[in-house]
Amino acid sequence: MSVRRAWPVGVWLGCLALAAWVALHARYVADLSAFLPARPTPAQRLLVDQLRDGPGSRLLLIALAGGDIEARAELSEALALALRGDREFSNVGNGDSATADRDREFLFAHRYLLSDAVTPEHFTAAGLKASMQDTVADLASPEGLALQSLVVRDPTGEMLAVIDQLSRTQAPRPKGGVWTSADGSRSLLIAETAASGSDTDAQEHALAAVRAAFEAARAAIGMPHAGRVELVMSGPGVFAVASRAKIEHAVVRLSIASSVLVAMILLVVYRSPSALVLGLLPVASGALVGVAAVALGFGVVHGITLGFGITLIGEAVDYSIYFFIQSAGGVTERWEQRLWPTMRLGMLTSVCGFASLLPSGFPGLAQLGAYSVSGLVAAAAVTRFVLPVLLPRNFSVRDLAPAGGRIASRLRSIRARAAIPWTLAIFLAAASTGLLIIARHTLWSGELSSLSPIPAAQLRLDAQLRADLGAPDSLDLVVVSGASLDAALAGAERAARALEPLIAEKIIGGVDSPAVYLPSHETQAARRASLPDPATLARNLDHAVDDLPLDAGQLSPFKSDVEAARRGPLMSAADLDGTSLAAGLTSLTMHSAGGWTALLPLHAAGASHPHIDIERVRLALAAAHCSAQVLDLKHESDALYSDYLRDAMRLSFAGSLAIVVLLLIALKSPGRAARVLAPLVLAVLVVAAALALFQVRLTILHLVGMLLIVAIGSNYALFFDSQHRDGGDSGATLASLCIANACTVIGFGLLSFSGVPVLEALGTTVAPGALLALIFAGILTPPACIV
């Protein structure tokens, strides 16, 4: 290797080292911010925060099914005990009586701070009389009898008021001492993980901990029926772990399968293992440079960029195939002069397509653009400047020119009847366009869930468990932010007050608020200040009991309790620890860098009004001057995804225009440009129509797949075009196109069987599209003018 020839290798190695250093020091994020516009609206920011770290995202719904109720109750107790001792879980609820006892104690001790009946009027003679009249009536009722031992301490019925306040939030019903589904077939637990829902590793660990604790509990109990009890889990964490496992499984399985197949083909063709390895250099270099470019340009690299970027530069695998096969016989200089310009134009075409993603308002799309552009340029440069130098001296691939030649003669005979291919093409284009126009309203899926790899059965189970548990689906939320937890709670109280008229109007069925569990300091202080001093209370009480059957002399415990509350401290979040109220509070509040957020899930007003009129809710909040936001999570996430899709479509269209302009300039002939473009357009049209025919709703991944068809197919079309100019098909070039196409079809074709929607979308689009692009490019090239 001469010094002159060695310099590209030096530059290459230097660049690789630099890129590797940048990639190693880059910050990788795997959250949903890739889908968040660079300048999100507050609602969009909230949506993503919700999905990523929201309390709902940490909720684990656990059901014990099968066996008999005693076995399930005992298992539920054992499981709850084990999980409560595990630091991975911040809260575990199963409806057990120990927690219920603690709850009762806490509520009773803090009843004067918690009850919204506590006002100054409540403790006047008239107020006391009214509430004690009620209590006397309670005493005559069965439930009152159960509570009557409390009467001397709580004659105003504050405990019942607090219980009523809390029970407005639906809770599952206990059976056998633990929460049980309405049909009695499942025992239920709720566990909240300490780690955020977006931390999939931690979620996976937590799930494993639940399974281990369950197995241990089942083994320890060893009742004859315990063995038949099964553990069922659902929740966002379960989904995240399952989809990651599914994607990983599919990716590993498929990449092994496709690597083996492609390697076998290339080994047969190259007859050289070292060529096989060399052939990977362009794409590997491109991938590394792509990551480095994204890291330098954006500061962070999104997981989605790594995931799909590598498939986007799959075209780079073809580069080495073209080089090896087309330069067979050691005539690399000739390849550099004659075929490299064509490949370079093909690469530039793809770059034009992908560069259109760069200005996207969504970092996820912009990064995909930056990654593919830099990756493709790097891969092409390595193919052109580095591979020729590294090629072993005795390198020779199987001469495929004869095989290619046979294909060429076939093509010639087809093209000789020029009318047939073009008629076919026009017919296909017209039919596909017609089909797409008919299906235009149902062509694209506007729902984010279309990308979800969660099977419908799992989603049904989730809905069932949520219904069993009365856990909020959190689809409609009022969101109040504050600088501190207390400020957020105060905001939540104002918002809940503003929404009260809507409950009466049956616009909403109700609203949950974290302030029910922990009122704001202001509210607590106001309630405490409503409590009269002992002398006033004694005086008012004497007046109040005048016409009541109650004996004021017996009520001294009440007086001392009121005095204790009047002098006692206000509650803070820490006081709730160990009670199920803590779970209620944490599940409805969120702490982030910017402060605290209180979440107020809205309930629909019964089955007859399943949908909440969000506009009315907004108006009611605005009228009360609440700075609260209303969030319809499903609507927001679908709207966000639709924006994302629309952005991608708009940019892809711009990219297509850029490709047309590039070809017009480079080929210097509208006719040639049209001939190069025709097979690509046709391939995309036919694939889109076929997908519509099979009633596949197109997603953003299908769009990315179509970009790939154009990127890969443009190489085919340009090679045919250049051969046409050079006076006919070269067997070697044709063979290289067929081999490259076979590798692409195998690689993407296997993705169609992955069972993961995003990968299937790519596979079912690119595999047939690439094949069609090659066939169309082959038959639509006019008969050679010079032979």
């Binding site: 005493l139 009557q148 056998g176 059957p549």
Partner: protein
Amino acid sequence: MSLLAARRHGQVDFVEQHFLAVLKRPVESFGVMTYDAPRRLEKRTVEPRPERLVLDGDEVTVERKGHTHVLELAAYPSLLPFIESLRATLAGDLPALERAFNVDFSGNLQRWTLTLSPRDPKVSSTVSRVRIDGSRDVLSKVEIFEANGDRSLMTLRNHPAP
């Protein structure tokens, strides 16, 4: 007991008087009680405030002030003497009675008295005993004595056929 067990359905008016230490004079309530053999007992209070309590199987449903609460009987043992004593007696279900109470029967078929003392110490710490008076298959009086000296007396009267 077998006479009681033979009754499938019954409806009676009740008047209940509560004698509590905290009260200067007893509080009275009245309403209608319905029994459907063997598991369902409904107590509908009309005055002083409309309320409904249904014991069906192991589940207690309480409707008061527009709210409905569903409780599990086992989780609220304190409710046992107030309702299970009645239901089991109405059902003629001696084994069920004996599971929860020490049962003492006195008198004759025409005029009998059933005295129930809760077995569960948690229950007996609030309710010391329940006394049920009756004649043949008809209950006439249910008196509940609480450990703290309070007591309630329920007088039952056949409901005029609707």
